[in-house]
C-alpha cells in the first residue's frame, strides 16, 4: 500500500474517532500490511505538517493523537453555540492545581495549603469528569486517599504529559532574608527593596524552579499504560 493511502486512512480514522488514537491503534488498522510504528509516525508527522496552516491541527496528547480545532479560531466558532462555555470555579481550579502539581496528595494537605476545607462536591465532580483518581491510601491513621490526575485530565487541558504544566512560581527564600527582617521597621532593608522590585514574571522564570513540577511528579510514561486498555 502506498504511503499516501495509509496517510489518508490514518487521517480518516483520526477524524472518525472521538477519542485520541495511539500509534498502536492506528497500526492495527493495517493488519495485512507490513508496517511498523515508525511508518505511522512518519505519516503522522506528514499530517502534522500539512495541517500547519489550517483551522484544525494534529495534537499529541496523553492518550494519543487527536485532530482538533485550533485555539485561534475559537472566537469565531463560539458563534455556533448559544451557550458560553462553563467556567470552572476558583475553588475547583485551586484544588485541581494542587492535585496536579503535588500528587499524590491527600485532602488534608490540600486544606493545609488552601487554608479552607475541601468541598466534597468539587472532589466528586472532578472524579466524575475523570480528571482525578485515587492513587492509593496513605498508611497513617484514617487512611486518607491520595489523589492524582488522569490522562483524561491531560487530554482535556491539551497537555501530553505532566511536564507540560506551566512551571510553578518560585518561593522567595525566607532563610536568606530572615536576618534582614527588622522587627517593626518601616524602612525596607536593601534586600527587601530588591525583592520588592522583583516582578512576578521574573520570579516565575527563575531557572532554579523551572523544572520543579517535573521533578516532583511521577514519570508520565509509566502512567500511559493505565488508560491503554
Amino acid at each position: 500500500m502506498e504511503l499516501k493511502q495509509i496517510k489518508n486512512i490514518v487521517e480518516a480514522a483520526l477524524m472518525a474517532s472521538d477519542e485520541p488514537l495511539q500509534n498502536k491503534q492506528l497500526l492495527d488498522l493495517f493488519p495485512d500490511e507490513e508496517l511498523t510504528g515508525n511508518d505511522i509516525n512518519q505519516v503522522l508527522n506528514e499530517l502534522e505538517q500539512e495541517y500547519q496552516d489550517r483551522g484544525i491541527e494534529l495534537k499529541r496528547l496523553a492518550k494519543g493523537y487527536r485532530l482538533q480545532t485550533r485555539e485561534s479560531v475559537q472566537p469565531w466558532l463560539q458563534h455556533l453555540w448559544d451557550k458560553k462555555p462553563r467556567k470552572l470555579s476558583r475553588a475547583l481550579l485551586e484544588t485541581l492545581a494542587l492535585i496536579a502539581y503535588r500528587q499524590p496528595i491527600t485532602r488534608g494537605e490540600i486544606e493545609d495549603i488552601r487554608g479552607v476545607a475541601v468541598s466534597s462536591k468539587i472532589i466528586h465532580h472532578m472524579m466524575d469528569q475523570e480528571w482525578i483518581r485515587v492513587l492509593g491510601y496513605r498508611d497513617v491513621p484514617g487512611k486518607p486517599a491520595m489523589l492524582g490526575t488522569t490522562n483524561t485530565f491531560l487530554d482535556y487541558f491539551n497537555l501530553s504529559s505532566l511536564r507540560d504544566l506551566p512551571s510553578l512560581a518560585a518561593i522567595k527564600d525566607m532563610e536568606t532574608l530572615e536576618p534582614e527582617l527588622a522587627f517593626e521597621s518601616n524602612d525596607p532593608s536593601p534586600i527587601d527593596a530588591e525583592q520588592a522590585t522583583d516582578d512576578d514574571h521574573e520570579v516565575r522564570a527563575a531557572q532554579t524552579e523551572r523544572h520543579e513540577p517535573s521533578d516532583e511528579l511521577p514519570d508520565p510514561e509509566n502512567e500511559s499504560t493505565e488508560n491503554a486498555s
Binding site: 475559537q74 485551586e94 492545581a97 521597621s185
Partner: protein
C-alpha cells in the same frame, strides 16, 4: 460614592435614630470605619470572591503593594479583624477558618511585641515566618490555578475535529413492548398448539419452576432468545401454557426483559442485566 451615601445604603436606621449599628470591642460605631481600603458597599461582592483567610490576607497585602516578606503585621491584623467584624455584622456565616486566622494574627502580633534576645548565634525565628511561608505557598498555587485555567481547554478553546461516519456503530434500538403484544404473540402460539389438539397427549406434570430454569438456561447460552422458540407446540396447550407462565413469572421477578427490534417485529427475551442498548 461618598461616605454618607454608604451610610444611607447600609444603615438607614443608624442615620435616623443614631443607634450604633456595630459594637466592636465594646465600642459603639455609628458610622462605617473610614480607613477601610475597600468601600464597604463592595464588601458583599468581594467576600464571595475570597477563597479563604489566606486569600483575603493576600488581597490586603497585594492591594497595598506591601512586601510579602515584610508584612506590617499590626496594620494587616487591624484590617483583617475589621473585615471579620463587618462580615459578622452583616450576618455572613463565617467559616471557622477566618477566625482561626484572626487568632493566629493576634498571636504573631503579641509575639512580636515580646523582647527578643539579640544573640547572633541563635537567631530567633521571625514570628511571621510561618505565615509568610503559608501565604507564599498559597499564592503560588493560586497562580498555578490561573495558569491551568489559561490552558487551552477542550470544549472551551478547542474542539475534537470529527467527520460524520455512516454506520459508525451499528446500534440496535430496542423497542419497549407492552402486554398486549405479548398476549397476541401467545395467541399465535396457542393457535398453533390447537392444531395438535387431536393428538393424544401423554399427561405429564409440567412444573412452571422447571420451565423457568429451562428458559434461563436458554438465556445463558444465547444473549437473546426469540419468544416463539421457547414453545414446543408438541406439548400442546398445557405445555405451551406452562412455558408462558414461566416467562411471566420471570418477568415479574425482573429476571428477564422482553424486547422488540421494531414494532410488530419478533419479540425477544433477554436477561435484565443485559445492556439494553445492545452492542
Amino acid at each position: 460614592m461618598s461616605e454618607s451615601d454608604q451610610d444611607n445604603t447600609f444603615t438607614p436606621s443608624a442615620v435616623q435614630s443614631e443607634m450604633p449599628f456595630a459594637v466592636v470591642e465594646g465600642k459603639p460605631y455609628t458610622s462605617m470605619p473610614t480607613d477601610l481600603y475597600i468601600p464597604p458597599d463592595a464588601l458583599e461582592v468581594i467576600l464571595e470572591a475570597f477563597e479563604g483567610p489566606l486569600d483575603l490576607l493576600l488581597y490586603l497585602i497585594r492591594r497595598q503593594n506591601l512586601d510579602i516578606l515584610n508584612i506590617p503585621i499590626q496594620e494587616i491584623t487591624k484590617q483583617y479583624v475589621e473585615y471579620i467584624e463587618l462580615m459578622h455584622q452583616m450576618n455572613f456565616e463565617l467559616a471557622a477558618e477566618y477566625l482561626v486566622m484572626a487568632a493566629m494574627l493576634a498571636e504573631i502580633k503579641s509575639r512580636m511585641l515580646l523582647p527578643t534576645l539579640h544573640d547572633d548565634e541563635e537567631m530567633e525565628e521571625d514570628p511571621r515566618a510561618e505565615l509568610i511561608r503559608r501565604l507564599q505557598e498559597y499564592e503560588r498555587f493560586k497562580q498555578a490555578a490561573e495558569d491551568i485555567d489559561g490552558l487551552p481547554r477542550l470544549e472551551r478553546d478547542v474542539w475534537v475535529a470529527e467527520v460524520y461516519v455512516e454506520h459508525k456503530a451499528e446500534q440496535q434500538e430496542w423497542v419497549e413492548i407492552d402486554l398486549k403484544d405479548l398476549v397476541m404473540a401467545f395467541k399465535e402460539v396457542m393457535a398453533r398448539a390447537d392444531l395438535k389438539i387431536s393428538h393424544a397427549i401423554e399427561r405429564e406434570v409440567l412444573s412452571v419452576r422447571d420451565r423457568m430454569t429451562l428458559v434461563l438456561d436458554r438465556l445463558l447460552q444465547n444473549k437473546t432468545v426469540r419468544f416463539e422458540s421457547l414453545f414446543n407446540v408438541k406439548e400442546g396447550r398445557q405445555g405451551v401454557l406452562v412455558s408462558f407462565l414461566a416467562i411471566l413469572e420471570l418477568l415479574k421477578a425482573h429476571t428477564i426483559e422482553l424486547v422488540q427490534n421494531e414494532p410488530f417485529g419478533s419479540i425477544y427475551l433477554q436477561t435484565s442485566t443485559a445492556n439494553t442498548s445492545g452492542d
